[in-house]
Amino acid sequence: MMFGEPIASIGAGARRVAQEVGGIVVMTGQVLRALVPPKLDTRELWKNLYKMGNKSVAIVVLTAAFAGGLMTLQTGPFVKKLGATSLAGWAAGYAVLREIGPILIALMFSGRVGANNTAELATMTVTEQLDGLRALAIDPVRFLIVPRVLAMIVMLVALTVIGDLVALLGASVVGHFMLHIDWSTMYFSFADNLRPTDFLHGVYKSFAFGGAIAVASCYFGVTVRGGAVGVGRAVNAAVVASAVSIMLLDFFITYLSA
């Protein structure tokens, strides 16, 4: 029957998604259990913090600058037409702090650090290094995964804070040079209209995004199957899962905090 096939494939797809979600939930549980009481390898933690921060600062700063500039390009002309230049900073800044900043930075982070992490863990799994750890009675979750998850969350929050500031700067630069809006107008527009809660809202989000990216990237890295081909597929899956999680979490957090 013609209808059987697409329905069957949707069903199979849904079952696969359910399996992955289940596996991710299990891993989250393992990570949480290892945190209470916190027993993890601190050397690995510092090593990962350094590595991840190093890798991603440049791209995040660049992205944030462009994003801030973009927002001004979009909202600036409209604001100028209405003659409300004092609101220019608010229009761009509000969106940046609450939405665009955290989401874009998280997406970039997922692409740079998340994908890299998945690739590393996948390669370690394929070359039996993970089994090697277990054979030495070292728990891979405590030794490898928990430090990476913590490092990713901490890093993403830090990067979002930095990125937000750079984005506001980028917005000002574009406002000044391309829309001829005064520096001081922008600055006061930010200061008057943006509240600390707006900033914090973005930070909460980055916390959640960081957790999602971290667990997804570790999960797909460790459950890799097959050799080199499997590694590529694992990275692909991790990146897609992270993107979807970011959007979903953004939605829920926005609704819940209103």
Partner: protein, 265 residues
């Protein structure tokens, strides 16, 4: 200190070299398209790539753009409710932003991760398992065989998905405004400010992203070295490169449009 500067200089040179190779890849792809037209190829290839890119990203795009449309509308309405309480403009402004920017760009970003990773992973694995060399031995140019079909397919599919994604965003936004803020749907779904220039912007951006993603991803895939680590690196680099290209292209095209229209968007 001197080490830092040397490293920075080295990094810049490396980046310039990579950029040049990327440009050459682009040129080679265009050349490959011309050859394609004349030579005749496996027709199934483009269709298969369109399926791989389009069909399999469909749910992904609908879900992600739908949610983001809901969130944006919600936030905007929330702010408006505190300031003016007047929702009459929100729908008309939203569609303008969706068509000229958010629709194609968010679709482009999502596809940069999904399609970029997929293409780089596929081509990267082929590279490290020496299948690319095998292709060359059989007298086939990897660019022609691998990248050109994906390039053409991506151009078409990105445009289609951007349109669909934008529509989903708008729809999701309208529903959110209606159910959470009681905005009348006839007021929300208002196309009065939509101009031809916005649609042109959308098409230009979607095509630009559709061109950039497979080139960047294919480029990274072909440069993969080693074994599984090489594939991992290629995929990571592709996702970052493609995403960043989308953002930079967005900025350039938007700025150019602003300049050309004298600030009237």
């Amino acid at each position: 200190m001197r080490e830092r500067i040397t490293a920075l200089g080295g990094g810049v040179l490396e980046a310039m070299r990579a950029a040049r190779e990327l440009w050459l890849t682009y040129v080679a792809t265009i050349a490959g398209i011309v050859r394609f037209r004349r030579g005749g190829h496996r027709k199934g290839d483009i269709a298969r790539q369109m399926y791989a890119i389009g069909n399999r990203s469909l749910v992904f795009i609908i879900v992600t753009l739908g949610f983001i449309g809901m969130v944006m509308t919600y936030e905007a309405c929330l702010q408006l409710s505190r300031v003016t309480g007047d929702y009459s403009q929100i729908g008309s402004q939203f569609i303008r932003l969706i068509v000229s920017d958010f629709g194609p760009t968010l679709t482009g970003l999502m596809l940069a991760t999904r399609v970029g990773a997929g293409i780089a992973a596929e081509i990267g694995s082929m590279k490290v398992t020496e299948q690319i060399d095998a292709l060359r031995m059989s007298g086939v140019l990897p660019i022609d065989y691998l990248i050109v079909p994906r390039f053409l397919a991506s151009l078409v599919m990105t445009l289609m998905l951007a349109t669909l994604g934008g529509a989903v965003m708008y729809l999701a936004g309208g529903l959110t405004a209606h159910y959470s803020f009681n905005v009348n749907t006839s007021i929300f779904f208002d196309f009065q400010y939509l101009r031809m220039r916005h649609v042109i912007l959308m098409i230009v951006k979607a095509l630009a992203y559709g061109a950039a993603i497979p080139i960047v991803a294919g480029f990274c895939g072909l440069r993969a070295r080693g074994s599984s680590e090489g594939v991992g690196w290629a995929t990571t680099a592709a996702v970052i490169g493609a995403s960043f290209s989308v953002i930079v292209l967005d900025f350039i095209i938007s700025a150019a449009a602003l300049f050309l229209t004298g600030g009237d968007l």
